[in-house]
């Protein structure tokens, strides 16, 4: 696909709404299209966290496989959302599995490329931090609510 | 803060209900069914006898051990002649008076609610199993009651419970059956108790309405008399044939002076006009923590309070016959179980339970029933083993609102 088309897709993705032109062009250098069939893994627990995904269509389940319990999903993500946060910090390894639950189209960003560009351009780095932090906070908040097991019987 | 106030007002608006009660309700004007008169002690005995002949069970104050209680009486000799009470926070003692007044005391641990809203009541019985299962309400034959010696604060308390049990969408048939036939002989207080604050709550000391007859104990010359006023048609009917004579102007003034003197010697006071808003503004005031350190959650206050009405519904099975009964008993919001839901209590701290009781009594009662829940009788102060005084608690919150 042409760079211009890809740049437009990146810019139009809700996650990057309002991103200024220069930053957009820097990002698109790390971007490419990705597609996963239903049942296909985006990444596995323990793999190197080299890519992150901006979902455009479909549904991805985050989970882990526990002995005796099988594959457990604790979060699903859909279009407009971002998959992959462990690329942000060392040791840059995925903590869980991510599997497409249905046909999923995404933009994948090369995490190494992105980290290098952020080191070189701190303004870009700060822009990205401002976007990833709310996602982290919201997920933490939601996870805590899940932990409370409010639908269970207590006492 | 405004939002809370608005919320509370919405509930308040729904609480305005008619008191469906007849002539003996607190809402009526004093009827001059018979002219004011005076009775001697013999005349008072004649009143008790007349009530007995009419089939009433006469209840009045009497000394039992170290306190004055309300029990069935048949004679003026049963009344606490020459006795008074000395009351303070967490303290109640009987003491001898210098005279032979029959009603020279304030109120004790009993209130009239034990007769109108009994502590334990069997509601229904279930018998049989399967298709033979049958549930029937427990029949009661209730003897009509006549209360002698109802204080002004107690008249107000009865009026408050009338509104709770008779003024809502659902009427309590047990309360109604007892209340409907009840004959009230009020007594205007000649002595203010150490913990009384009926003046602050505008509930006394003068009985102004809601009684069938009212007595004020006076001295006229050397005579020991009872100034008698009729407050209802029935009161007039019963008073009519009693051995009495018309009251003189001097005797009328003497009767008025009695309650004026009592009003001037209240044991406690509490500014009541703004207490609802004050407490609503201070749901998290540190004073609640402070009182929780002293409060034992024993529930004495709810037992002695003449307006507290909460009950628990319980089922018990008879293992032998297989029948089961549903009973209703007095409950207290101070128990942990009171607010039990989903395996735990909503109000698990003593702090939250004391707050619930006081807020209900002085604030949310207005929203639910249109009046304060407190009549200023002081019982909760007297009978608290930790000597907690709600007038002091309210005052402390008011003084340090920002605290």
């Amino acid at each position: 696909m042409e760079i211009e088309g890809l740049e437009r897709i990146v810019r139009e993705h809700p996650f990057f709404a309002g991103l200024e032109e220069g930053a957009g062009r820097l990002l698109v250098g790390c971007a490419r299209n990705a597609r996963f069939e239903a049942g296909q893994y985006l990444f596995h627990e323990g793999d190197a966290a080299d890519e992150l995904y901006l979902l455009r269509q479909g549904r991805v389940g985050l989970g882990i496989t526990a002995p005796g319990r099988g594959a457990l999903t604790f979060q699903t993500l859909g279009s407009g959302e971002v998959v992959g946060l462990s690329w942000l910090l060392p040791p840059y390894r995925w903590s869980y599995d991510a599997k497409a639950l249905e046909l999923t189209r995404a933009i994948s960003l090369d995490a190494k490329c992105l980290r290098q560009k952020c080191d070189a351009d701190h303004d870009l780095g700060y822009e990205l931090m401002k976007r990833f932090m709310p996602v982290l906070v919201a997920r933490l908040h939601a996870t805590r609510l899940q932990m409370l097991d409010v639908y269970g019987t207590h006492g | 803060m405004e939002a809370i106030d608005q919320a509370y007002r919405c509930a308040h608006a729904a609480a305005r209900v008619e008191n469906p009660y007849g002539s003996a309700s607190p809402g009526c004007r004093r009827l001059r069914a018979v002219e004011d008169s005076v009775l001697t002690t013999a005349g008072l005995q004649a009143l008790i006898d007349a009530l007995g002949r009419r089939g009433y069970r006469v209840i009045g104050p009497t000394v039992r051990g170290e306190t004055i209680v309300y029990e069935e009486i048949s004679s003026v000799e049963d009344l606490p002649r020459g006795w008074t009470d000395s009351q303070d926070a967490g303290r109640y003692r009987l003491a001898r008076r210098g005279d032979d007044a029959l009603f020279g005391f304030a109120v004790g641990a009993h209130s009239w609610k034990r007769f109108l809203h009994p502590p334990l009541l069997e509601l229904s019985r279930a018998e049989g199993t399967g298709d033979a299962l049958h549930i029937a309400p427990t029949e009661e034959r209730i003897e009509p009651l006549a209360f002698i010696g109802v204080r002004a604060c107690e008249l107000h308390a009865i009026g408050i419970q009338d509104r709770v049990f008779l003024g809502g969408a659902h009427v309590d048939p047990h309360y109604r059956a007892r209340r409907e036939g009840c004959f009230l002989v009020a007594v205007n207080c000649g002595t203010a108790g150490g913990t009384c604050f009926c003046v602050s709550m505008q509930c006394g000391p003068r009985a102004s309405r809601g009684y069938d007859l009212a007595l004020t104990e006076i001295r006229s010359g050397t005579e020991h008399l009872f100034y008698l006023e009729a407050g209802s048609a029935l009161g007039g009917t019963i008073a009519g044939p009693l051995p009495r004579r018309a009251a003189t102007e001097q005797e009328r003034l003497a009767a008025e002076a009695v309650t004026e003197h009592t009003a001037a010697s209240m044991g406690r006071q509490m500014r009541a006009d703004d207490v609802r808003e004050l407490l609503l503004r201070n749901l998290e005031h540190p004073r609640w923590e402070n009182v929780a350190e002293r409060c034992l959650s024993c529930g004495n206050c709810t037992m002695v309070c003449p307006t507290c009405f909460c009950t628990a519904v319980e089922e018990t099975s008879d293992l032998v016959s297989g029948a089961s009964t549903r009973t209703q008993r007095w409950d207290s919001c101070f128990t942990l179980e009171f607010s039990h839901v989903h395996g735990g209590s909503v109000r698990s701290s003593a702090r939250s339970r004391y707050r619930q009781w006081l807020m209900h009594k002085l604030a949310t009662w207005h929203d639910q029933f249109g009046t304060s829940g407190c009549v200023g009788c002081g019982r909760c102060i007297t009978w608290c083993p930790a000597a907690i005084d709600l007038t002091e608690e309210v005052s402390a919150i008011r003084k340090s609102e920002s605290g």
Partner: protein
């Protein structure tokens, strides 16, 4: 009044604590420890109907009585459905009743969901766990009045796929055109391909138009608090949000004092309440 005062005999008329007996017609297991009991409403002498959101007191003589929301279609009052989770002695005994046995019933009591107000609006129902049961009558009524409404969105959160209540019905609504249905679970095994995560996330994704929205929420109090926060964040005002509150309930007729929630008696002023009537009480501890 009579010359002599006569004793009063207390009769059975107008005794709000006296139950009637209702026969169990049908029972169905909805989820682990959750059963729906269908009671016959009166037989030859039909009992009163009910409003969506109301509850009955169901009792077993000798054991006790508990408040259970009606979970059936209010347009079919011959059948009184109650969805019960077995958590204590009374509810467990209720879930063990066989067809043909009778249960002691009082009611219906309480306030219902504001269905009349929904005309012309987008309705969003946010339910969690057992909270779907008191909302189900409203959903049936909304379906019947579909033409008068805008969007109807149903968001439901359960602990796991096995604990989804009325699953077949929800999934058939999901496939249909009347409702937009999203179901989410807190955690799931591999064969669940639906949403996993808290139900509050789905509120954001619903892209509500705050000018037209009316929200109905029911579930554990914690879940309702978070749902309310998400609805407010989406632009809804307090007067557009309704919830169903729960407290200890004994007499259900406003005479025993147990169900107090601030100035409100939930058996009479609730259980369905408009959020602005609570004056912030829902966030307060131990009220």
């Amino acid at each position: 009044m009579d010359e002599t005062a006569s004793p009063v005999a207390l009769g059975a008329a107008a005794d709000p604590m006296l139950p009637r007996l209702a026969r169990v017609q049908r029972r169905r297991r909805e989820a682990p420890q959750v059963w729906t009991l269908e009671l016959e409403n009166g037989g030859e002498q039909r009992g009163p109907g009910f409003e969506a959101g109301q509850f009955n007191m169901l009792g077993i003589p000798g054991i006790g009585e508990v408040p259970i929301s009606l979970s059936g279609d209010p347009a079919d009052p011959a059948r009184l459905l109650h969805t019960i989770r077995a958590v204590g002695p009374v509810s467990t005994a209720l879930t063990r009743l066989a067809c043909g046995e009778r249960v002691a019933l009082r009611g219906p009591f309480g306030t219902g969901w504001p269905l009349l107000e929904a005309a012309g609006k987008d309705v969003i129902a946010v339910a969690g766990g057992l909270g779907l049961a008191p909302l189900r009558p409203a959903l049936h009524a909304l379906r019947a009045a579909r033409a008068r409404l805008g969007r109807v969105i149903v968001l439901y959160g359960a602990r796991s796929p096995q604990e989804i209540l009325f699953r077949r019905e929800l999934e058939s609504w999901q496939r249909g055109v009347d409702f937009e249905v999203e179901i989410t679970v807190d955690h799931a095994l591999g064969d669940w391909h639906g949403h996993v995560g808290v139900v509050t996330r789905l509120i954001e994704r619903a892209k509500l138009d705050p000018a037209r929205a009316l929200a109905l929420t029911c579930g554990p109090e914690v879940m309702m608090r978070f749902a309310i926060a998400a609805l407010r964040h989406a632009g809804l005002g307090e007067e557009q949000i309704f919830l169903s509150m729960e407290r200890n309930m004994q007499c259900a007729v406003g005479l025993c004092g147990h169900c107090q929630f601030g100035p409100l008696l939930l058996c009479r002023d609730g259980p369905v309440l408009r959020l602005d009537r609570l004056g912030g009480l829902i966030g307060r501890k131990e009220i």
